[in-house]
Protein backbone atom coordinates (compact mmCIF):
# COMPACT_ATOMS: atom_id res chain seq x y z
CA UNK A 1 0.00 0.00 0.00
CA UNK A 2 2.73 2.44 1.01
CA UNK A 3 4.81 1.59 -2.03
CA UNK A 4 1.80 2.25 -4.26
CA UNK A 5 1.27 5.73 -2.89
CA UNK A 6 4.80 6.82 -3.65
CA UNK A 7 4.71 5.35 -7.15
CA UNK A 8 1.40 7.10 -7.76
CA UNK A 9 2.73 10.43 -6.60
CA UNK A 10 5.85 10.00 -8.69
CA UNK A 11 3.76 9.26 -11.77
CA UNK A 12 1.64 12.31 -11.04
CA UNK A 13 4.71 14.48 -10.75
CA UNK A 14 6.08 13.17 -14.03
CA UNK A 15 2.91 13.79 -15.95
CA UNK A 16 1.55 16.97 -14.48
CA UNK A 17 3.98 19.56 -15.88
CA UNK A 18 3.26 18.32 -19.40
CA UNK A 19 -0.08 20.02 -18.97
CA UNK A 20 1.77 23.27 -19.40
CA UNK A 21 2.59 25.36 -16.37
CA UNK A 22 3.83 28.91 -16.31
CA UNK A 23 7.54 29.48 -15.83
CA UNK A 24 6.87 30.86 -12.38
CA UNK A 25 4.94 27.78 -11.29
CA UNK A 26 7.67 25.52 -12.62
CA UNK A 27 10.20 27.49 -10.63
CA UNK A 28 8.18 26.97 -7.46
CA UNK A 29 7.86 23.26 -8.16
CA UNK A 30 11.58 22.95 -8.78
CA UNK A 31 12.36 24.69 -5.51
CA UNK A 32 9.88 22.54 -3.63
CA UNK A 33 11.47 19.38 -4.94
CA UNK A 34 14.99 20.66 -4.31
CA UNK A 35 14.13 21.49 -0.72
CA UNK A 36 12.48 18.12 -0.35
CA UNK A 37 15.81 16.55 -1.27
CA UNK A 38 17.69 18.69 1.26
CA UNK A 39 15.05 17.99 3.87
CA UNK A 40 15.14 14.23 3.31
CA UNK A 41 18.91 14.31 3.56
CA UNK A 42 18.84 16.27 6.80
CA UNK A 43 16.12 14.03 8.14
CA UNK A 44 18.29 10.95 7.64
CA UNK A 45 21.03 12.34 9.85
CA UNK A 46 18.92 14.37 12.25
CA UNK A 47 15.54 12.77 12.44
CA UNK A 48 16.52 9.12 12.17
CA UNK A 49 20.05 9.12 13.55
CA UNK A 50 19.48 11.88 16.06
CA UNK A 51 22.48 14.02 15.10
CA UNK A 52 21.04 17.50 14.68
CA UNK A 53 23.10 19.44 12.19
CA UNK A 54 23.03 23.21 12.08
CA UNK A 55 25.46 23.33 9.21
CA UNK A 56 23.98 21.56 6.24
CA UNK A 57 24.71 24.65 4.21
CA UNK A 58 28.30 23.43 4.32
CA UNK A 59 27.45 20.43 2.13
CA UNK A 60 25.08 22.40 -0.07
CA UNK A 61 27.74 25.00 -0.65
CA UNK A 62 30.52 22.50 -1.33
CA UNK A 63 28.31 20.81 -3.91
CA UNK A 64 27.43 24.14 -5.50
CA UNK A 65 31.03 25.28 -5.62
CA UNK A 66 32.21 21.95 -7.03
CA UNK A 67 29.97 22.54 -9.99
CA UNK A 68 30.82 26.21 -10.15
CA UNK A 69 34.58 25.79 -9.94
CA UNK A 70 34.53 23.08 -12.61
CA UNK A 71 32.92 25.62 -14.89
CA UNK A 72 34.95 28.62 -13.82
CA UNK A 73 38.40 27.11 -13.59
CA UNK A 74 38.30 24.10 -15.87
CA UNK A 75 35.87 25.36 -18.45
CA UNK A 76 33.78 22.23 -18.16
CA UNK A 77 30.03 22.10 -18.13
CA UNK A 78 28.80 22.60 -14.60
CA UNK A 79 26.59 19.53 -14.98
CA UNK A 80 29.68 17.43 -14.35
CA UNK A 81 29.44 18.90 -10.90
CA UNK A 82 26.53 16.64 -10.10
CA UNK A 83 28.40 13.35 -10.14
CA UNK A 84 31.64 14.94 -8.98
CA UNK A 85 30.00 16.63 -6.03
CA UNK A 86 29.16 13.20 -4.65
CA UNK A 87 32.85 12.42 -4.35
CA UNK A 88 33.92 15.85 -3.12
CA UNK A 89 31.13 16.23 -0.57
CA UNK A 90 31.54 12.70 0.75
CA UNK A 91 35.23 13.33 1.23
CA UNK A 92 34.53 16.63 2.99
CA UNK A 93 31.91 14.99 5.17
CA UNK A 94 34.44 12.42 6.32
CA UNK A 95 36.69 15.21 7.55
CA UNK A 96 33.83 17.18 9.06
CA UNK A 97 32.49 14.01 10.64
CA UNK A 98 35.85 13.16 12.11
CA UNK A 99 35.91 16.53 13.86
CA UNK A 100 32.26 16.83 14.84
CA UNK A 101 30.78 13.38 15.38
CA UNK A 102 32.72 12.78 18.55
CA UNK A 103 30.61 15.53 20.09
CA UNK A 104 27.21 14.75 21.43
CA UNK A 105 23.86 16.44 21.17
CA UNK A 106 23.92 20.23 21.27
CA UNK A 107 27.72 20.37 20.90
CA UNK A 108 27.49 18.53 17.62
CA UNK A 109 24.84 21.05 16.56
CA UNK A 110 27.08 23.97 17.46
CA UNK A 111 30.16 22.46 15.87
CA UNK A 112 28.31 21.94 12.58
CA UNK A 113 27.10 25.52 12.79
CA UNK A 114 30.72 26.56 13.19
CA UNK A 115 31.78 24.51 10.17
CA UNK A 116 29.15 26.19 8.01
CA UNK A 117 30.35 29.65 8.98
CA UNK A 118 34.02 28.75 8.61
CA UNK A 119 33.34 27.50 5.08
CA UNK A 120 31.48 30.67 4.20
CA UNK A 121 34.30 32.90 5.39
CA UNK A 122 36.83 30.67 3.64
CA UNK A 123 34.89 30.90 0.37
CA UNK A 124 34.77 34.67 0.76
CA UNK A 125 38.50 34.90 1.31
CA UNK A 126 39.94 32.36 -1.14
CA UNK A 127 39.18 34.75 -3.97
CA UNK A 128 41.56 33.13 -6.40
CA UNK A 129 39.75 29.82 -6.06
CA UNK A 130 36.13 30.76 -5.58
CA UNK A 131 35.92 34.31 -6.94
CA UNK A 132 35.09 35.40 -3.37
CA UNK A 133 32.11 37.67 -2.96
CA UNK A 134 31.83 38.16 -6.70
CA UNK A 135 30.49 34.69 -6.93
CA UNK A 136 30.39 32.37 -9.89
CA UNK A 137 28.09 33.00 -12.82
CA UNK A 138 27.35 30.59 -15.60
CA UNK A 139 26.87 32.59 -18.76
CA UNK A 140 25.36 29.97 -21.01
CA UNK A 141 22.02 28.67 -19.93
CA UNK A 142 21.62 24.99 -20.79
CA UNK A 143 17.88 25.20 -21.41
CA UNK A 144 15.49 28.09 -21.60
CA UNK A 145 12.45 26.09 -20.56
CA UNK A 146 12.38 25.01 -16.99
CA UNK A 147 10.85 21.64 -17.63
CA UNK A 148 14.19 19.88 -18.17
CA UNK A 149 15.54 21.19 -14.91
CA UNK A 150 12.34 19.96 -13.33
CA UNK A 151 12.84 16.41 -14.55
CA UNK A 152 16.43 16.36 -13.40
CA UNK A 153 15.62 17.45 -9.86
CA UNK A 154 12.65 15.08 -9.86
CA UNK A 155 14.99 12.24 -10.74
CA UNK A 156 17.38 13.27 -7.98
CA UNK A 157 14.48 13.46 -5.53
CA UNK A 158 13.14 10.06 -6.53
CA UNK A 159 16.55 8.46 -6.11
CA UNK A 160 16.95 10.19 -2.75
CA UNK A 161 13.53 9.11 -1.56
CA UNK A 162 13.87 5.47 -2.54
CA UNK A 163 17.45 5.17 -1.33
CA UNK A 164 16.61 6.63 2.05
CA UNK A 165 13.59 4.40 2.37
CA UNK A 166 15.68 1.36 1.59
CA UNK A 167 18.30 2.40 4.12
CA UNK A 168 15.78 3.06 6.89
CA UNK A 169 14.10 -0.30 6.40
CA UNK A 170 17.41 -2.15 6.54
CA UNK A 171 19.76 -2.97 9.37
CA UNK A 172 21.29 0.48 8.91
CA UNK A 173 17.97 2.09 9.73
CA UNK A 174 17.57 0.15 12.93
CA UNK A 175 21.10 1.01 13.95
CA UNK A 176 20.53 4.71 13.24
CA UNK A 177 17.42 4.82 15.39
CA UNK A 178 19.13 2.84 18.14
CA UNK A 179 21.91 5.43 18.17
CA UNK A 180 19.35 8.21 18.33
CA UNK A 181 17.42 6.63 21.18
CA UNK A 182 20.39 5.74 23.37
CA UNK A 183 23.92 5.87 22.08
CA UNK A 184 25.43 4.06 25.07
CA UNK A 185 22.92 1.24 24.90
CA UNK A 186 23.57 0.96 21.19
CA UNK A 187 27.33 0.67 21.77
CA UNK A 188 26.76 -2.07 24.31
CA UNK A 189 24.71 -3.97 21.76
CA UNK A 190 27.65 -4.18 19.44
CA UNK A 191 26.80 -1.22 17.24
CA UNK A 192 29.87 0.69 16.13
CA UNK A 193 28.26 4.06 16.73
CA UNK A 194 31.12 6.08 15.27
CA UNK A 195 31.00 4.12 12.03
CA UNK A 196 27.26 4.32 11.60
CA UNK A 197 27.01 7.96 12.51
CA UNK A 198 29.64 8.61 9.85
CA UNK A 199 27.67 6.62 7.31
CA UNK A 200 24.54 8.63 8.10
CA UNK A 201 26.51 11.86 7.78
CA UNK A 202 28.08 10.88 4.45
CA UNK A 203 24.76 9.87 2.93
CA UNK A 204 23.08 13.01 4.21
CA UNK A 205 25.93 15.18 2.95
CA UNK A 206 26.04 13.54 -0.47
CA UNK A 207 22.36 14.15 -1.21
CA UNK A 208 22.59 17.72 0.02
CA UNK A 209 25.68 18.26 -2.10
CA UNK A 210 23.94 17.06 -5.25
CA UNK A 211 21.15 19.52 -4.52
CA UNK A 212 23.80 22.21 -4.26
CA UNK A 213 25.36 21.26 -7.57
CA UNK A 214 21.90 21.28 -9.14
CA UNK A 215 21.30 24.73 -7.68
CA UNK A 216 24.44 26.04 -9.36
CA UNK A 217 23.27 24.76 -12.71
CA UNK A 218 19.68 25.87 -12.34
CA UNK A 219 20.10 29.35 -10.87
CA UNK A 220 23.27 30.10 -12.79
CA UNK A 221 24.77 32.19 -9.99
CA UNK A 222 26.16 31.45 -6.55
CA UNK A 223 28.20 33.30 -3.96
CA UNK A 224 29.31 32.43 -0.43
CA UNK A 225 26.46 34.28 1.24
CA UNK A 226 23.87 32.46 -0.80
CA UNK A 227 25.01 28.87 -0.63
CA UNK A 228 26.73 28.79 2.74
CA UNK A 229 23.99 30.79 4.42
CA UNK A 230 23.17 29.91 7.99
CA UNK A 231 19.63 31.27 8.09
CA UNK A 232 18.62 30.75 4.49
CA UNK A 233 19.98 27.25 4.01
CA UNK A 234 20.95 25.49 7.24
CA UNK A 235 18.06 26.72 9.34
CA UNK A 236 15.51 26.43 6.53
CA UNK A 237 16.63 22.81 6.13
CA UNK A 238 15.88 22.23 9.80
CA UNK A 239 12.54 24.02 9.47
CA UNK A 240 11.52 21.98 6.43
CA UNK A 241 11.92 18.79 8.46
CA UNK A 242 10.55 20.12 11.74
CA UNK A 243 7.44 21.56 10.15
CA UNK A 244 6.82 18.58 7.92
CA UNK A 245 7.56 15.81 10.37
CA UNK A 246 10.77 14.54 11.91
CA UNK A 247 11.73 10.95 11.24
CA UNK A 248 8.99 10.30 8.71
CA UNK A 249 9.28 9.58 5.00
CA UNK A 250 6.89 12.20 3.77
CA UNK A 251 7.60 14.81 6.43
CA UNK A 252 10.38 16.60 4.52
CA UNK A 253 8.23 16.65 1.38
CA UNK A 254 5.31 18.21 3.22
CA UNK A 255 7.67 20.60 4.93
CA UNK A 256 9.27 21.63 1.65
CA UNK A 257 5.88 22.40 0.13
CA UNK A 258 4.87 24.50 3.12
CA UNK A 259 8.16 26.37 3.51
CA UNK A 260 8.60 27.24 -0.17
CA UNK A 261 4.98 28.33 -0.55
CA UNK A 262 5.18 30.33 2.67
CA UNK A 263 8.35 32.06 1.52
CA UNK A 264 6.72 32.95 -1.80
CA UNK A 265 3.58 34.26 -0.15
CA UNK A 266 5.61 36.39 2.23
CA UNK A 267 7.73 37.71 -0.61
CA UNK A 268 4.78 38.74 -2.70
CA UNK A 269 2.93 40.71 -0.03
CA UNK A 270 4.55 44.14 -0.25
CA UNK A 271 5.38 45.06 3.32
CA UNK A 272 5.63 41.59 4.68
CA UNK A 273 8.71 40.75 2.66
CA UNK A 274 11.17 42.37 5.04
CA UNK A 275 9.62 40.57 7.95
CA UNK A 276 10.15 37.08 6.61
CA UNK A 277 12.73 36.23 9.26
CA UNK A 278 10.33 37.24 11.99
CA UNK A 279 7.56 35.12 10.52
CA UNK A 280 9.85 32.15 10.05
CA UNK A 281 11.08 32.59 13.60
CA UNK A 282 7.55 32.70 14.93
CA UNK A 283 6.65 29.62 12.90
CA UNK A 284 9.64 27.80 14.29
CA UNK A 285 8.71 28.73 17.85
CA UNK A 286 5.10 27.70 17.35
CA UNK A 287 6.04 24.37 15.81
CA UNK A 288 8.47 23.56 18.56
CA UNK A 289 6.02 24.33 21.32
CA UNK A 290 2.85 22.89 19.84
CA UNK A 291 3.86 20.39 17.22
CA UNK A 292 7.41 19.34 17.98
CA UNK A 293 7.26 16.27 15.81
CA UNK A 294 5.99 18.23 12.86
CA UNK A 295 2.83 17.75 10.91
CA UNK A 296 3.41 14.19 9.78
CA UNK A 297 4.76 13.27 13.17
CA UNK A 298 1.90 14.90 14.97
CA UNK A 299 -0.82 13.29 12.88
CA UNK A 300 -1.38 10.38 15.26
CA UNK A 301 -1.91 12.90 18.06
CA UNK A 302 -4.23 15.05 16.00
CA UNK A 303 -6.09 11.94 14.90
CA UNK A 304 -6.51 10.85 18.48
CA UNK A 305 -7.86 14.25 19.46
CA UNK A 306 -10.39 14.20 16.63
CA UNK A 307 -11.44 10.69 17.46
CA UNK A 308 -11.87 11.51 21.12
CA UNK A 309 -14.11 14.42 20.24
CA UNK A 310 -16.38 12.09 18.32
CA UNK A 311 -16.69 9.65 21.20
CA UNK A 312 -17.97 12.34 23.57
Amino acid sequence: MKKLISTFILALLIVVPLLGFSSYLMHILIFVIMWAVIGMAWNLLGGYCGQVSFGHAAFFGIGAYTAGILYQKLGMSAWWGLPLSIIVVTFASLIIGFICLRLRGPYFALATLAVGVILRVTAENLVGFTQGDLGIMIRERTWVEKIWYYYIILLIAAVTFYTIRKVIESKLGYYFVAIREDQDAAESLGINTTLYKTVALCLSAAFTGIAGAFYMNYMGYIDPNVVFALHDISIVAIMVVMVGGVATFWGPVIGAIIMVLLAEVIRSIPHLGAAHMTLFGVLLIVIIIFLPNGIAGGLPRIGKRLRMKRVT
Partner: protein
Protein backbone atom coordinates in the same frame (compact mmCIF):
# COMPACT_ATOMS: atom_id res chain seq x y z
CA UNK B 1 36.72 -16.96 31.08
CA UNK B 2 36.97 -13.42 32.36
CA UNK B 3 39.98 -12.32 34.36
CA UNK B 4 40.32 -8.94 36.07
CA UNK B 5 43.79 -8.12 37.31
CA UNK B 6 44.50 -5.26 39.69
CA UNK B 7 41.81 -3.01 38.28
CA UNK B 8 41.95 0.53 39.60
CA UNK B 9 40.21 3.58 38.29
CA UNK B 10 40.42 7.17 39.50
CA UNK B 11 37.93 9.96 38.93
CA UNK B 12 39.47 13.28 39.86
CA UNK B 13 41.22 12.33 43.06
CA UNK B 14 38.78 9.63 44.06
CA UNK B 15 39.64 5.96 43.62
CA UNK B 16 36.36 4.45 42.50
CA UNK B 17 38.00 1.05 42.23
CA UNK B 18 41.19 -0.08 43.94
CA UNK B 19 43.16 -3.13 43.02
CA UNK B 20 40.29 -5.41 42.10
CA UNK B 21 41.27 -8.89 41.02
CA UNK B 22 39.07 -11.88 40.40
CA UNK B 23 38.13 -14.33 37.70
CA UNK B 24 34.94 -15.82 36.39
CA UNK B 25 34.90 -19.40 35.16
CA UNK B 26 33.04 -20.57 32.11
CA UNK B 27 29.40 -21.30 32.74
CA UNK B 28 29.34 -20.05 36.32
CA UNK B 29 27.26 -17.31 37.88
CA UNK B 30 29.35 -14.82 39.82
CA UNK B 31 27.43 -12.53 42.13
CA UNK B 32 28.73 -9.01 42.81
CA UNK B 33 27.47 -7.44 45.99
CA UNK B 34 28.25 -4.41 48.07
CA UNK B 35 26.59 -1.34 49.53
CA UNK B 36 25.55 1.53 47.27
CA UNK B 37 28.50 3.39 45.89
CA UNK B 38 30.86 0.46 46.35
CA UNK B 39 31.82 0.57 42.69
CA UNK B 40 29.87 -2.35 41.26
CA UNK B 41 28.45 -0.55 38.25
CA UNK B 42 31.80 1.16 37.75
CA UNK B 43 33.37 -2.28 37.54
CA UNK B 44 30.84 -3.28 34.91
CA UNK B 45 31.61 -0.11 32.99
CA UNK B 46 35.28 -1.04 33.01
CA UNK B 47 34.66 -4.62 31.85
CA UNK B 48 32.20 -3.43 29.24
CA UNK B 49 34.59 -0.86 27.80
CA UNK B 50 32.92 2.39 28.80
CA UNK B 51 35.79 3.23 31.11
CA UNK B 52 39.43 2.48 30.63
CA UNK B 53 41.02 1.33 33.88
CA UNK B 54 43.73 3.62 35.25
CA UNK B 55 45.65 0.54 36.29
CA UNK B 56 45.31 -3.15 35.68
CA UNK B 57 43.65 -4.97 32.84
CA UNK B 58 40.74 -7.15 31.86
CA UNK B 59 41.05 -10.29 29.76
CA UNK B 60 38.30 -12.30 28.18
CA UNK B 61 39.12 -15.77 26.91
CA UNK B 62 42.81 -14.94 27.26
CA UNK B 63 42.50 -11.80 25.20
CA UNK B 64 43.09 -8.36 26.69
CA UNK B 65 39.96 -6.26 26.27
CA UNK B 66 40.57 -3.27 28.51
CA UNK B 67 41.61 -1.15 25.58
CA UNK B 68 38.66 -2.00 23.35
CA UNK B 69 35.47 -0.04 22.79
CA UNK B 70 32.10 -1.33 24.02
CA UNK B 71 30.87 -2.45 20.63
CA UNK B 72 34.02 -4.45 20.01
CA UNK B 73 33.68 -6.10 23.42
CA UNK B 74 30.09 -6.97 22.62
CA UNK B 75 31.18 -8.51 19.34
CA UNK B 76 33.68 -10.63 21.26
CA UNK B 77 30.88 -12.01 23.39
CA UNK B 78 30.19 -9.89 26.47
CA UNK B 79 26.76 -8.27 26.70
CA UNK B 80 25.39 -6.14 29.51
CA UNK B 81 22.25 -4.63 30.94
CA UNK B 82 22.04 -1.25 32.61
CA UNK B 83 20.96 -0.50 36.15
CA UNK B 84 18.76 2.34 34.98
CA UNK B 85 17.17 0.53 32.09
CA UNK B 86 17.85 1.99 28.67
CA UNK B 87 15.17 0.78 26.30
CA UNK B 88 15.26 2.20 22.81
CA UNK B 89 12.20 4.11 23.79
CA UNK B 90 10.41 4.93 20.59
CA UNK B 91 11.00 1.50 19.11
CA UNK B 92 8.72 -1.43 19.72
CA UNK B 93 9.82 -4.33 21.90
CA UNK B 94 10.33 -6.39 18.77
CA UNK B 95 12.47 -3.73 17.12
CA UNK B 96 14.58 -3.38 20.24
CA UNK B 97 15.51 -7.03 20.09
CA UNK B 98 15.78 -7.04 16.31
CA UNK B 99 18.31 -4.21 16.40
CA UNK B 100 20.50 -6.28 18.72
CA UNK B 101 20.02 -9.41 16.68
CA UNK B 102 21.60 -7.78 13.63
CA UNK B 103 24.99 -8.15 15.26
CA UNK B 104 25.34 -11.85 14.52
CA UNK B 105 22.70 -12.29 11.84
CA UNK B 106 23.85 -12.55 8.26
CA UNK B 107 20.59 -11.25 6.85
CA UNK B 108 17.20 -9.91 7.81
CA UNK B 109 15.55 -13.31 7.97
CA UNK B 110 18.12 -14.63 10.41
CA UNK B 111 17.75 -11.52 12.54
CA UNK B 112 13.99 -11.95 12.56
CA UNK B 113 14.34 -15.56 13.62
CA UNK B 114 16.71 -14.68 16.44
CA UNK B 115 14.36 -11.93 17.61
CA UNK B 116 11.41 -14.31 17.62
CA UNK B 117 13.30 -16.94 19.56
CA UNK B 118 14.64 -14.54 22.14
CA UNK B 119 11.26 -12.91 22.70
CA UNK B 120 9.67 -16.28 23.32
CA UNK B 121 12.54 -17.28 25.58
CA UNK B 122 12.10 -14.15 27.65
CA UNK B 123 8.32 -14.37 27.72
CA UNK B 124 7.88 -11.08 25.90
CA UNK B 125 6.34 -12.39 22.71
CA UNK B 126 2.84 -11.22 23.59
CA UNK B 127 3.96 -7.58 23.99
CA UNK B 128 6.30 -7.56 21.03
CA UNK B 129 4.48 -4.76 19.20
CA UNK B 130 4.15 -2.43 22.14
CA UNK B 131 6.32 0.70 22.16
CA UNK B 132 8.94 0.05 24.81
CA UNK B 133 8.36 3.41 26.45
CA UNK B 134 5.01 2.17 27.71
CA UNK B 135 6.17 -1.05 29.32
CA UNK B 136 5.93 -1.61 33.05
CA UNK B 137 9.23 -1.90 34.89
CA UNK B 138 9.27 -5.68 35.16
CA UNK B 139 8.87 -6.16 31.43
CA UNK B 140 11.38 -3.41 30.73
CA UNK B 141 13.99 -5.19 32.81
CA UNK B 142 13.26 -8.38 30.93
CA UNK B 143 13.57 -6.49 27.67
CA UNK B 144 17.06 -5.39 28.76
CA UNK B 145 18.01 -9.00 29.26
CA UNK B 146 16.36 -10.10 26.02
CA UNK B 147 18.20 -7.44 24.07
CA UNK B 148 21.52 -8.44 25.55
CA UNK B 149 20.81 -12.07 24.75
CA UNK B 150 19.99 -11.28 21.14
CA UNK B 151 23.62 -10.32 20.59
CA UNK B 152 24.54 -13.95 21.10
CA UNK B 153 26.87 -13.45 24.05
CA UNK B 154 29.01 -15.97 25.82
CA UNK B 155 28.97 -13.84 28.94
CA UNK B 156 26.24 -11.63 30.34
CA UNK B 157 26.70 -8.77 32.80
CA UNK B 158 23.41 -8.13 34.61
CA UNK B 159 23.18 -4.90 36.57
CA UNK B 160 20.39 -5.00 39.17
CA UNK B 161 17.97 -6.80 36.92
CA UNK B 162 15.87 -7.74 39.92
CA UNK B 163 15.56 -4.36 41.57
CA UNK B 164 12.03 -3.09 41.99
CA UNK B 165 10.28 -6.29 40.92
CA UNK B 166 7.31 -7.77 42.74
CA UNK B 167 7.50 -11.42 43.88
CA UNK B 168 5.84 -12.82 40.74
CA UNK B 169 8.10 -10.89 38.41
CA UNK B 170 11.05 -11.90 40.58
CA UNK B 171 10.34 -15.58 40.17
CA UNK B 172 9.88 -15.20 36.43
CA UNK B 173 13.21 -13.46 36.16
CA UNK B 174 14.97 -16.09 38.25
CA UNK B 175 13.58 -18.72 35.90
CA UNK B 176 14.99 -16.88 32.95
CA UNK B 177 18.41 -16.70 34.62
CA UNK B 178 18.30 -20.44 35.18
CA UNK B 179 17.39 -20.99 31.55
CA UNK B 180 20.26 -18.79 30.47
CA UNK B 181 22.66 -20.74 32.65
CA UNK B 182 21.34 -23.95 31.14
CA UNK B 183 22.45 -22.62 27.75
CA UNK B 184 25.99 -22.41 29.06
CA UNK B 185 26.20 -18.62 29.18
CA UNK B 186 28.48 -17.28 31.90
CA UNK B 187 26.96 -14.55 34.05
CA UNK B 188 28.05 -11.84 36.41
CA UNK B 189 25.19 -10.37 38.40
CA UNK B 190 25.02 -7.22 40.50
CA UNK B 191 22.20 -7.47 42.96
CA UNK B 192 21.05 -6.12 46.28
CA UNK B 193 18.35 -8.67 46.79
CA UNK B 194 20.23 -11.01 49.11
CA UNK B 195 17.98 -14.03 48.91
CA UNK B 196 18.05 -13.99 45.14
CA UNK B 197 21.76 -13.62 44.75
CA UNK B 198 22.56 -16.15 47.41
CA UNK B 199 20.33 -18.70 45.78
CA UNK B 200 21.46 -18.39 42.20
CA UNK B 201 25.17 -17.54 42.45
CA UNK B 202 27.91 -20.14 42.31
CA UNK B 203 30.36 -17.70 43.86
CA UNK B 204 30.19 -14.17 45.16
CA UNK B 205 32.57 -11.21 45.20
CA UNK B 206 31.89 -8.44 47.69
CA UNK B 207 33.00 -4.84 47.20
CA UNK B 208 33.06 -1.91 49.56
CA UNK B 209 34.43 1.58 48.89
CA UNK B 210 35.97 0.35 45.67
CA UNK B 211 37.89 -2.51 47.24
CA UNK B 212 37.29 -6.22 47.19
CA UNK B 213 36.52 -7.29 50.72
CA UNK B 214 35.59 -10.92 50.22
CA UNK B 215 35.26 -13.69 47.66
CA UNK B 216 33.78 -17.14 48.07
CA UNK B 217 30.71 -19.31 47.95
CA UNK B 218 27.39 -17.85 49.09
CA UNK B 219 27.63 -19.72 52.37
CA UNK B 220 31.16 -18.41 53.10
CA UNK B 221 30.12 -14.86 52.23
CA UNK B 222 27.05 -14.93 54.44
CA UNK B 223 29.19 -15.45 57.52
CA UNK B 224 32.10 -13.27 56.44
CA UNK B 225 32.70 -10.49 59.06
CA UNK B 226 33.78 -7.64 56.75
CA UNK B 227 30.77 -8.29 54.54
CA UNK B 228 28.39 -8.26 57.46
CA UNK B 229 30.04 -5.11 58.76
CA UNK B 230 29.68 -3.40 55.40
CA UNK B 231 25.96 -4.12 55.23
CA UNK B 232 24.89 -3.96 58.82
CA UNK B 233 27.48 -1.83 60.55
CA UNK B 234 30.40 -2.66 62.74
CA UNK B 235 28.47 -3.60 65.87
CA UNK B 236 26.68 -6.39 64.08
CA UNK B 237 29.82 -8.29 63.24
CA UNK B 238 31.20 -8.00 66.74
Amino acid sequence: MLVCRNISIFFGGLAALSNISFSVGKGEILGLIGPNGAGKTTLFNVINGFYRPSEGDVSFKDRKISCLSPHQICALGIARTFQVVKPLQRMSVYDNVLASAFLRAKNRTQADNTAHDILEFAGLYDVKDLISKGLPLGKRKRLEIARALATGPEMLLLDESFAGLNPTELNESIDIIKKIKAQGITMMIIEHHMKVIMSISDRIVALNYGEKIAEGTPREISVNPPVIAAYLGDTASA
